[in-house]
Amino acid sequence: MTLEQQFIAFKTIVVKEILRFSRIWVQTIVPAVITTSLYFLIFGNLIGSQLGDIQGYSYVDYIVPGIILMSVITNAYGNVVSSFYGHKFQHHVEEMLVSPMPNTILLAGFVVGGVARGIVVGSVVTLVAMFFTKLHFEHIFITLAVVILTAILFSLAGFVNAVYANSFDDISIIPTFVLTPLTYLGGVFFSIGMLSTFWQNIALFNPILYMINAMRFGMLGVSDINLVVAFIIIILFLVMLFSFCLYLLNKGIGLRS
């Protein structure tokens, strides 16, 4: 395929994915708005108003970056895992597998679809946050870079989950038992400085901690983690997952018998 043909194939998947989650916006966008509104209301305003400042910010301000990034993570992951597993389940992934489209394009198409949903939901959640507090953006480009890289990373993770999934249960197990606990323990609602040394060291093994702190640095200018270390960790995971996804596609694992 020429580069132009590859771009057409890529665009086809991206447009299809964006139309897919847009058509079912009640399932894909509205729940995030409701959940995060409740977080801002209960944790931010009601409980947060009883708490003191953290690293110079009110509690609601402190949790905004984490909640925005949490919605990006959940939706980027959820979009790819449900869409690609749906393609497998209904066998219409075969439409792509029989075509000469390179595996990198197939992967990129689904990942960009996931990133698009992550960014759309993240933007909506940001708008919701404006009803509860005045937003800060200390380093806008760092904020955007963290959002985009995190969305790519979790779209890739969703892809891996979808490739290995053999039932609809399999696509909900990882988000429920791995992703959600790691996100909550990744410092969305607290600073790891509040933990004992032992638990601080344990928390450092959680990759989501680095993303949330990098996001917090982008928005508020404060972080528990060195920004360079955070970006190295994010990019490292991203490269590893991208390579693994391509390996799965090239071998046909979960796709070709």
């Binding site: 395929m1 020429t2 209904q90 066998h91 439409e95 075509s99 070709r256």
Partner: protein, 311 residues
């Protein structure tokens, strides 16, 4: 000129150690209308799956119009259009979008894809339904949708795996006409079907695969010439209770007014008619007991089953 499809020593052993293909080799000429037949589980779909990159082969090679599927994957895949046995489109998508998206996966610009989609959907009688969700289509329409989808990138080799399964006879015949027409225009077609009269009517060459091996690969007319005995069913005007005797002919009475007569290549049916006339029996109609290809198919695959049982 390279073959449209050239398969050499193709083997496939699944993870559960089931050996679906035991080293098959097959050459299909450009422009052919080729039947690949075999009983269920014979290895047809596995072979097609490998050619279409949906199944990983264990060993062997596949070339499509001279392009090796391992080393020139893009070129080889661009030549193939697949109509699979099972419906494999997104049932929640409008059928027009299914065709356009498929074209997109092949890198065809949307404008050109729209023109081709319109032409194909009109030819296959689906244009009026283009905005309908795929799930709303009837079984026959879904089959035609898959044909339109497989043709949108104008493949040189069209592989049809049971394309008329569950389709009524009228639509099946119209699909035959459509397929014959695109074959005349130069598209090589490989057909697998359980309707053997379909293969006999459409295909010029044939391979029969059984238990992962090709047991016959020849021209359709050569294969049909191997049929030494044909069985005819004769409907009588009169009812009888005793089988009429015609020397040298094997006749059985199926019911009081229906005879089954076996005729070999050295005999003629006139002798049977003459004898029946002499006995004052009148034949009102006559038909083949089964399709000729079907008789051969059953004998070929049945023989192998017997050989396996003896071996």
């Amino acid at each position: 000129m390279p073959h449209a499809l050239s398969i050499q020593d193709l083997t496939k052993t699944y993870k559960n150690n089931v050996c679906a293909l035991k080293g098959i080799s097959l050459d299909i000429a450009e422009g052919d209308f080729f039947a690949l037949l075999g009983p269920n589980g014979a290895g047809k779909s596995t072979a097609i799956g490998i050619v279409c990159s949906l199944v990983n082969k264990t060993s062997g090679s596949v070339k499509v119009f001279g392009c090796d599927l391992d080393t020139q994957k893009d070129q080889a895949k661009s030549c193939i259009g697949l109509v699979p046995q099972e419906f494999n489109f997104n049932v929640f998508e409008p059928i027009y979008e299914i065709i356009i998206n498929q074209a997109g996966y092949y890198g065809i610009p949307r404008k050109k894809a729209s023109q081709r989609a319109e032409l194909l959907l009109k030819q296959l009688g689906l244009w009026e339904k283009r905005r309908d969700m795929a799930r709303e289509l009837s079984g026959g329409m879904k089959r035609r949708l898959m044909i339109a989808r497989a043709l949108v990138h104008e493949p040189k080799l069209l592989i049809l795996d049971e394309p008329t399964a569950g389709v009524d006879i009228e639509i099946r015949r119209s699909m035959w006409v459509f397929l014959e027409e695109i074959n005349k225009q130069g598209t090589t077609i490989i057909l697998t079907t359980h309707y053997l009269e379909e293969a006999e009517a459409l295909c010029r060459n044939i391979a029969i695969i059984n238990k992962g091996e090709i047991i016959e690969h020849t021209q359709m007319k050569t294969l049909l010439a191997q049929l030494h005995i044909e069985t005819f069913i004769l409907d009588l005007k009169e009812s009888i209770n005793k089988v009429p005797v015609v020397a040298g002919y094997n006749i059985t009475l199926l019911d009081p007014s229906t005879l089954s007569v076996e005729i070999n290549k050295t005999q003629t049916i006139n002798e049977v008619f003459d004898e029946l006339s002499r006995l004052n029996l009148h034949v009102t109609s006559m038909r083949n007991k089964s399709n000729r290809l079907e008789e051969l198919f059953v004998r070929l695959t049945g023989n192998q089953i017997e050989e396996d049982a003896q071996g």
